[in-house]
């Protein structure tokens, strides 16, 4: 009897030590499909020898709420996504493990500097960038040809860009130049180009003369016949208008590629960088990114670090890039031959990738300090909407937004 018990105990121990399961948590939907395949084809084969197995779990619905709940209940996975938009309050909470212990500075240096900085708080790296996106200008070649207007290109300034849009909109009935959205996630890229920053040295948000210049230009697009308000065209984003050929250009990231593949597979479109501010001769942009971060309460931190290494390995990022699913966060992959292939989607990916480099100009992560991003952006979005729809003057709208921001940013 004793013998059997000992054998049993050993067998259980053996089973337990044979395989360490590292749980991963992230967005549901498409991400589940992509990450499960990545884990199956790249990550698990690489870690099989070490007895580590990763399992991905996608969360439907409100990911942020689900993650915070899981962290409080102690059921969060060992590694999870953190969206840059709400990363800082979470990193500051102490529930995320700093990664400096597990990765050497050399290992961290291979990642795009801008991206890594976005996940660094008080000198600690709290996440490795999974992938990223920036904004770029997509243009419909047919519409520009039909209007006999040259395509937008990377030497365009706001003025020449607006002029081209005006000419397309004037030449073709039913087509807008750009469908303009009242959203800081698009407008902000232009504001950054002027030298304006969301927070000044004192940590306040000041809507200064630079901001005003970008604001005036952006809201004048509709008034001056270079664009139409997206809601007036029955769309919620610039890509929706673009896919339906209601607008000649869109300002979106690489995510528009998959959308267009379904919605308008034959569209002849090109991609170029965001136009330059005519005064500063600079461009601006946002970086949208998600990190892989480690649970501070994880029981398998060493194993999780190994899985993290495999998830962000060159092989894994190449696998994702070659399927056109996302852009790699490793700087070395900028020279990947995949970017140099011909084709509209490769051009899109290439230009969006360039947006994060020095060509991209003033590139800021899509986060707003320790504040809730949605809350911070609201006054600016409302100001944009009020001016575009003619409800307020620029002066009035900026003054109101400033008053509101003074209340929010303390």
């Amino acid at each position: 009897m004793k013998k059997i018990l000992v054998t049993l105990a050993l067998a259980v121990l053996g089973l337990a030590s044979a395989q360490t399961v590292v749980k991963l948590q992230g967005f549901g939907g498409n991400d589940t499909a992509i990450m499960s395949s990545l884990v199956r084809e790249i990550v698990n084969p690489a870690l099989e020898k070490e007895g580590i197995r990763a399992e991905y779990q996608g969360i439907e619905g409100d990911y942020r709420a689900a993650l915070l709940n899981a962290l409080s209940a102690g059921t969060a996975a060992d590694l999870f996504y953190v969206d840059i938009f709400w990363s800082e309050p979470l990193f500051a909470s102490g529930r995320v493990e700093p990664l400096n212990k597990y990765f050497t500075p050399q290992e961290l240096a291979v990642f795009n500097r801008n991206l890594l900085n976005a996940f660094t708080l008080r000198g600690n790296v709290y996440g490795l960038p999974k992938d990223f996106n920036t904004l770029a200008v997509q243009f419909n070649k047919d519409l520009f040809d039909e209007a006999k207007v040259p395509y937008p290109n990377q030497t365009d300034t706001w003025d020449t860009f607006k002029d081209k849009l005006k000419r397309v909109q004037a030449a073709i009935k039913d087509v807008a130049g750009l469908c303009v959205v009242a959203d800081h996630a698009r407008f902000g890229a232009f504001a950054h180009a002027t030298g304006w920053r969301p927070f000044n040295a004192q940590g306040r948000t000041v809507l200064d003369a630079n901001f005003r210049r970008a604001f005036e230009w952006y809201t004048s697009l509709v008034k001056d016949g270079a664009g139409k308000y997206a809601q007036d065209l029955g769309e919620g984003w610039t890509g929706g208008c673009f896919g339906a050929e209601k607008a000649a250009v869109a300002i979106e990231g690489a995510w528009i590629g998959g959308f267009l593949r379904d919605k308008a597979p034959n569209m002849r479109y090109g991609t170029t960088l965001i136009p330059l501010d005519p005064v500063t001769k600079q461009r601006g942009n946002f970086i949208f990114t998600v990190s892989w971060s480690m649970n501070a309460a994880s029981r398998n931190k060493e194993a999780a670090a190994k899985v993290l290494r495999a998830l962000t390995s060159p092989e894994a990022q190449n696998w994702i890039l070659s399927r056109g699913l996302a852009l790699p966060s490793r700087s070395a992959l900028a020279n990947s031959p995949i970017f140099q292939r011909p084709g509209k989607e490769n051009e899109l990916n290439r230009v969006v990738f360039q947006g994060s480099t020095s060509v991209g100009g003033a590139v800021l992560p899509f986060k707003f300090g320790a504040l809730d991003g949605g809350n911070w952006m609201r006054p600016i979005n409302e100001a944009l909407q009020a001016v575009i729809t003619g409800k307020k003057t620029v002066d009035q709208a900026i003054a109101d937004a400033q008053a509101e921001l003074n209340r929010i940013v303390r």
């Binding site: 939907g29 199956r40 047919d142 039909e146 034959n266």
Partner: protein
């Protein structure tokens, strides 16, 4: 004079009464019709939307390619020609698919034949994006495009001519040793020179692109279902588990049935036993117990779900369908309904059984329970419907385990996988499919449903 003055008084009175009768009937029927339109209308519009290539199109059209019998017949025939499968189509070795397309060419312009290509199509978003679909492009051979006819016509007030072109797409068998795959679909793009307007084709295209220059088909050998119910077919074909390749939707349907039926069984068992004990058995403090049960009905599920979640976590039931079953096994409301029902059964019946020597268990199972069919039927339908539509508990217990999702959670999965890309057709289709079992249940059990609600005394 006086009689003359009285008579006209009577006549309008009768007419007034008749008018009032008609008005009353008009109001009743009008209200019923309005209610019917109010409730059925959205379903009808959503159903039409689920058939469309672009469910979000505005203005909304009630007549579109998928509703036209001409296309039904064409889709059936082309599916037959493509793979010998008139229902879901395909493109098999040996297939020979003739196709025609007509353009309107304005007067003074010389018609030019269009360019025909079989493109490589990969899904851009949703689950389809991660599967490598077998493409028709490497196997399809397009014959030369030939002009078939020209006839003068006036389209939109402009004089000109309608020119028809024909071509054939073949799938050569090659030599006998090569094993060639049957391709699920045969996409097609036909690009016309600028100025030629698409007029008609053997099968109406799924979309016109590039300002009408390119007519584009997802498949020209779709079969009847593949064309008319394309989004419904996609629900089954496209949404598959990336690890096993099994259809998610079938799995979710099975899961929903399993959970709903299991909970119906546990509810019927526990609620009838509990209800009977509270109604008839001698139990000290029974009324307090009953008051407590009724009190628990007033506590919202959201208030207790965290503790339930933690209990399920410690039991290791998170992510498993059993977790949902344990959580929903019986509700206070069900016990309440059964208790009220049992109290309406005359005591004399049980006393008669007692005199005949029946034990309480025999009395319950052989006498009382068969009499409780209406209440049990009502409970069945309410519980089943409640579990079938249960989203909150499923979201809490099953989060992240796609293979063990129930249908409502699956629909939310579709929303995050397809809705973000504006692909609402598949979502509408899956929502309609998930409704079917509940509709069948209502049709079958509606007698019990009505009886259960209205019953207060014994029958027969």
């Amino acid at each position: 004079m006086a009689t003359q003055a009285v008579r006209p008084m009577r006549k309008p009175d009768e007419r007034h009464l008749a008018r009032q009768r008609w008005a009353r009937a008009g109001w009743v029927y009008g209200t019923m019709l309005a209610l019917a339109v109010f409730f059925i209308g959205p379903f009808y519009v959503a159903f039409l939307g689920s058939l469309k290539d672009n469910p979000l199109e505005w203005p909304f059209r009630y007549s579109f390619p998928q509703t036209q019998p001409k296309n039904w017949a064409a889709a059936w025939r082309l599916g037959q020609l493509g793979a010998g499968n008139p229902w879901t189509g395909g493109f098999a070795p040996g297939a020979e698919v003739p196709f025609q397309i007509s353009y309107f060419v304005e007067e003074g312009q010389e018609p030019e034949p269009p360019t025909v290509t079989v493109p490589t199509r990969r899904a851009g978003a949703g689950l389809g994006a991660i599967f490598d679909e077998v493409q028709a492009a490497p196997y399809a051979q397009v014959s030369e495009v030939q002009e078939v006819s020209r006839r003068p016509a006036v389209v939109g007030g402009q004089p000109g001519q309608i020119v028809t072109y024909a071509f054939t797409i073949r799938y050569p068998r090659g030599d006998a040793t090569a094993s060639l795959p049957t391709v699920p679909r045969l996409p097609l793009d036909i690009e016309a020179p600028r100025g030629q307007r698409y007029y008609a084709a053997t099968l109406d295209p799924n979309r016109l692109e590039r300002r009408g220059r390119v007519a584009s088909w997802d498949s020209i050998t779709p079969g009847f279902f593949g064309y008319v119910f394309r989004n419904y077919v996609r629900v089954f074909n496209e949404a598959r588990d990336p690890n096993t390749g099994a259809s998610f939707f079938l799995r979710w349907t099975a899961n929903s049935f399993f959970v709903s039926l299991a909970v119906v069984l546990t509810t019927l068992l526990f609620a009838s036993l509990g209800g009977y004990a509270l109604a008839r058995m001698y139990l000290p403090g029974k009324n307090y117990l009953f008051a407590f049960i009724v009190f628990t009905m007033t506590v919202p599920g959201q208030a207790t779900f965290i503790s339930n979640y933690l209990v399920l976590r410690d039991l290791g039931l998170l992510g498993s369908l059993w977790g949902m079953i344990v959580w929903s096994a019986v509700g206070a409301g069900a016990v309440f309904i059964m208790k009220q029902f049992f109290e309406s059964i005359p005591r004399e019946i049980e006393e008669a059984a007692l005199i005949d020597g029946a034990t309480p268990v025999t009395t319950f199972f052989r006498i009382i329970l068969p009499m409780a069919t209406p209440a049990l039927g009502a409970l069945t339908i309410l519980t089943f419907q409640g579990m079938w539509n249960e989203f909150f508990k499923a979201a809490v217990v099953l989060s992240g385990q796609q293979a063990s999702y129930t249908l409502p959670l699956g629909l939310s999965f579709f929303r995050s996988a397809y809705g973000v890309a504006g692909d609402w057709g598949l979502m509408l289709a899956s929502a309609f499919l998930s409704m079917i079992p509940i509709i069948i249940l209502f049709v079958v059990f509606q007698r019990y449903f009505v009886e259960g609600v209205s019953t207060s005394a014994l029958k027969g």
